[in-house]
Chain length 403, copies 4
Amino acid sequence: MDFAFDTTTEELRKRLVEFMDECVYPAEEAFEEQAAESGWSIPPLMEDLKDEARRRGLWNLFLPGEHGAGLTNLQYAPLAEIMGRSPRIAPTATNCAAPDTGNMEVLSMFGDEWQRRTWLEPLLKGEIRSAFAMTEPDVASSDATNISTSIVRDGGEYVINGRKWFASGAMNPKCAIFIVMGKTSQDGSAHRQQSMVLVPRDTPGLTVKRGMHVFGYSDADHGGHAELIFQDVRVPVDNLIGEEGGGFGIAQARLGPGRIHHCMRLIGMAERAIELMCTRALSRTTFGKPVAQQGVVQDWIAESRVKVEQLRLLVLKTAWLMDTVGNRGAHTEIQAIKIATPQAVEWILDKAIQVHGAGGVSQDFPLAGLWAGARTLRLADGPDEVHKRSLAYRELKKHMPTG
Amino acid sequence: MDFAFDTTTEELRKRLVEFMDECVYPAEEAFEEQAAESGWSIPPLMEDLKDEARRRGLWNLFLPGEHGAGLTNLQYAPLAEIMGRSPRIAPTATNCAAPDTGNMEVLSMFGDEWQRRTWLEPLLKGEIRSAFAMTEPDVASSDATNISTSIVRDGGEYVINGRKWFASGAMNPKCAIFIVMGKTSQDGSAHRQQSMVLVPRDTPGLTVKRGMHVFGYSDADHGGHAELIFQDVRVPVDNLIGEEGGGFGIAQARLGPGRIHHCMRLIGMAERAIELMCTRALSRTTFGKPVAQQGVVQDWIAESRVKVEQLRLLVLKTAWLMDTVGNRGAHTEIQAIKIATPQAVEWILDKAIQVHGAGGVSQDFPLAGLWAGARTLRLADGPDEVHKRSLAYRELKKHMPTG
Amino acid sequence: MDFAFDTTTEELRKRLVEFMDECVYPAEEAFEEQAAESGWSIPPLMEDLKDEARRRGLWNLFLPGEHGAGLTNLQYAPLAEIMGRSPRIAPTATNCAAPDTGNMEVLSMFGDEWQRRTWLEPLLKGEIRSAFAMTEPDVASSDATNISTSIVRDGGEYVINGRKWFASGAMNPKCAIFIVMGKTSQDGSAHRQQSMVLVPRDTPGLTVKRGMHVFGYSDADHGGHAELIFQDVRVPVDNLIGEEGGGFGIAQARLGPGRIHHCMRLIGMAERAIELMCTRALSRTTFGKPVAQQGVVQDWIAESRVKVEQLRLLVLKTAWLMDTVGNRGAHTEIQAIKIATPQAVEWILDKAIQVHGAGGVSQDFPLAGLWAGARTLRLADGPDEVHKRSLAYRELKKHMPTG
Amino acid sequence: MDFAFDTTTEELRKRLVEFMDECVYPAEEAFEEQAAESGWSIPPLMEDLKDEARRRGLWNLFLPGEHGAGLTNLQYAPLAEIMGRSPRIAPTATNCAAPDTGNMEVLSMFGDEWQRRTWLEPLLKGEIRSAFAMTEPDVASSDATNISTSIVRDGGEYVINGRKWFASGAMNPKCAIFIVMGKTSQDGSAHRQQSMVLVPRDTPGLTVKRGMHVFGYSDADHGGHAELIFQDVRVPVDNLIGEEGGGFGIAQARLGPGRIHHCMRLIGMAERAIELMCTRALSRTTFGKPVAQQGVVQDWIAESRVKVEQLRLLVLKTAWLMDTVGNRGAHTEIQAIKIATPQAVEWILDKAIQVHGAGGVSQDFPLAGLWAGARTLRLADGPDEVHKRSLAYRELKKHMPTG
């Protein structure tokens, strides 16, 4: 057992921290200003940052194997944490932003050669963006078997009908391709009825209807969260990813890394929040002494540090397990971090907001926006309660009388 | 001891519930649609609702004494709760919305005849709106002695310089008058240095700079929360409310009722949230049974009910104390409800959101917006921590050795 | 609506507070000393206190109707709270201690004349004690239909077989009579199979096996919590309380008042804890200032006060409902206080312990013992989770689509 | 970074698990029976277990360096966890029980040759026991500078006067030696006034007055927690450990490993609690289904697992830091685990108790006793609040403006 990072990780951490210090943090203010005027487009300064990240070899770090940087999950984890300190800029600038990351992984693992050439390559280059359309407004999507969008084969085509929402990134005009989950069959095993197909943005019958809000935020600078209407949308059968009935399996494969990436970035957000909380507490005075000397504020700071240290280690161990025994072997740990991280980071952000007073809930500090993101992750990719139920079931199973 | 409402209250509750059922709830959808297109103005349908409320005798219910409906706090409390069930419409429709309520109370209690005629009358009629400018971006405003805006007498005028923010309602073009708190003296007792003056919106030197956000919300349909710049703003000395050095006292007098009104409405919001939580839980199915049968969801519903029943009683008792022993005698209880209510209602809203899945954080349900309001009330009118500190001090004082 | 006590209540509160100040608090130290040497008997000084309470007209205050003091629940509630401040002495001294209170209520309401003469009268006089044998070690007793003790009619007798535990008070040699719940039928409606019978302590076949501990406490000074073995125990059919199959109904009738009495006393314990917490915080110094000036401790004190104020009002309203619409009409509120009070008071006691340092967990302060009592009430008379489930079900029912 | 144990650890874990399975768990019932009749002595079966542990090479595992097993903290941590699963037996059986462990470390590090020969040797052999007398009833001992016991040099002797309590283990007649902390000076730096001296049990003037309780438990089977009176107690100057004024430093050195050992064992207790909670939930039925299918219980199980996984990793990392950068370098982490572990394990034990119903608070399951231990550790070795304050201070320091 050894808690030190390897030299590859240390070298990349150093390089990434330099990039953050020299390019990302200094761009934050301008990014917000541009974002306020960019409508649904990504603020223009992002392209320069992407060029810079590419130049510095900080590109596609998330992707294992030949198509990406080839890092293990354990090597990528501390890098994602650093990116998470400026989560509206750094992940996109390094082409490590959701949902593209998950979509690239899907295409990399399950896409055929044509799909990879047509969609994976421009994604890897950061030329286009993508979206993932799974959640539906009309059913409780936390139970994937509820999905009601239909994908019906008709000759050489699939015909898609249904309604999706919270397709993150899809409001961005540069979002060119959607991975859509739907039912190709009403019969058979509940987990073999779903399939995934690629639907280009300009396909007739597909309407990108509106952006859903998240606690008042449109997240326009990240392409928002779209509601999509599929009305007799037709795509060639070649657009099927993997095989018919494989959708649930691909979703599971996609969600493991997706969840850990979210958790890694959340830890970076938490570190940023602690930093802001301390700085603010040191700079303001009430009732004759700095806020930093208020016992309750000290209690929050200590609890925050204690929570973050625990979470980080569990995320790192989970990454190590994914690397050593595979995503399936790390199932309990992936669920554990998905349960623990958003709630703890939400708590830390809440306290950081409180220390900032009215400013904390406003656009003048990043805290309220980060909070909305952390809160939403208690729902996204499966609400906490569903993960806990499943985790408890496995725990109970260990103690069931056999025979 | 008797827990039944008196007949005046019962009669008004009945009338108000009818108004809610017949006019308010049915207008909610259209209100949101108009709000999305009204910029900083109040959605136009509001004027019709105000006419209707006036006609039904549901007007200025908050205001005791001759200028208003003449109800006691105990009589008004359950009415404010009902309004709180649709907090973006009902309080404004009945001319019972903050910050006008507090401002009308201030003018009613401390304004001279000219001030009452000029500003209180049109406010009571709902013809103009008003704002209250106290919080400042540059100091920890939870400690009122920190306030840095200066109000300097110069002959027959006061000259105001400073920066305020979170002046709720001030972005609305119909907001005609601001009550501004500042320092008229740098010497003497820390609580006798502040004064309040009336500053009309069009006074030269006053800039309504921008709307502050609350999480992602601009609250534009309620006039937002403005940042105001005062640069050599001059008003006649007649615009002083009460006496020089009386600002802190007026603020205290204003905040008592203001805090209880917020708490009353929060309880209505909590009831609405429970209703939505139950309805949703009954209508959605996951893993083969209605969400309403999930034990964890039942636990949330029960906890919500238990919390609300306790909070409501403490709010009612506080109102009764204000009526019987005065605001000062109810100091501990006012602080207690200000501490307890926002955090409990925030919790309930959080659970209602969780039951709604992704929809819960979006604009399709009122929950996320209500949540942002409840969360902000843990800061507004003094953060929880300041109230707790003060309440604890009084508790400790009871047990201090005397002599 | 009126939050003032009536004159009967005020007069009795005054008289009871005098009794506490003059007799109860001064006896606490000696009581603990005697308790340490009394084995399973009640410390001898108790009889003097009982005489004194009788003389002062502070006797059987809990019992409505002709057999007791004739107070309403609303009148008794604040008295029980005062007794709860010294819960090991005051309730027993005034003949208002569980489980006798509940047993007297049962005999008063459901006992026939012979039963009342034989058992109720000496109980009302405080000459004997009683126990209630319901919980069983072998089944989850939170679901009363699980009860497995059998009561089988055989001619003019009932034959009882089974095992009970946590029969509070039964280790006390003066505990002369047990009310035993068991099944007289295996068929029919699940809630009509149980009956209650009176079993005198010296009945052959009944073994008072051992005292169960509550955390490390034997509660010997209150007769402990006995495990009882019933092996072919025979009692005359006249010992049946009410009718065959009526046991579940009697249990429900008994538990309503029982639960509210517990909650009333818990509030008194909480007040005592706050008092101790403040006094200690004022008397100890760490790191250069009194503990009372530590922000975190102030936060606890404030939260404690806020919790207690809310709980008390809900308990009082529940009492008022029981008086005005009956126990059944107050079902939701009874459950609400049973859920809310033990957990809140446990929290307050925990903080008071923490302020006392190592002393807080020891026998030198009453806090750890009170804590064990509060904690156990999260289980006794139905665990929180069962009450919440039931309360949620009724809340959901309000929102179920009809037809 | 690597999360696998090394081979030494794996081998010892295997051997220790065998010992637990073959000797410790099977002895638990008999141990409790003997404990009920042993007065202040250790139950006699312990000596056999000690012999067996010695024979199996499972002896003094806690002690690094030549005097003990020579393991690193990282190697010992998972072994201590396993011992923590049966905390009343396994640590003592393997001579790894507090407070002897800490005392042996002190003597090993700071004792001179005579002290080591006289006291360390029989302790290492398990022939005698020892106690540590630091906490005082008359001052807030969480601030070590408050300590009031005086140690005054008088010729070739030290004269000790003062009162100590919670000297764990000291009620055991085999406890032969006390390490006593007191003040040798009233002047100079606040952290250089304390010294530690060795006081044999039979020294005139020393009275072992009584055993303090912990939530009703006397912990007699571990020698209890004694109150000690020192009245002109004289020991030779040779009994000074280290140098005059070095007491605070020795205490700090002692507490680091002591705290981590407690945390390691607590994690074992948590694992035992989860095991018991699952087993019970699977075996009991309420309202027509196994308790294990109740959503709230599943939620508790999942939360428990998630908490334990995080805690264990932080404890292991702390151990690694102690090994690699020293106790001082691991200061933040040692405080972090001391804050996080007792409160989390207390929570888990509370839930396990709740699942067990009334049995959970009783002597029939180990849960209530374990709970009392975990709760007390929120106070022992410094209350949480003191650690949090100190940890926050270091966190804030990182962000203080320099210059």
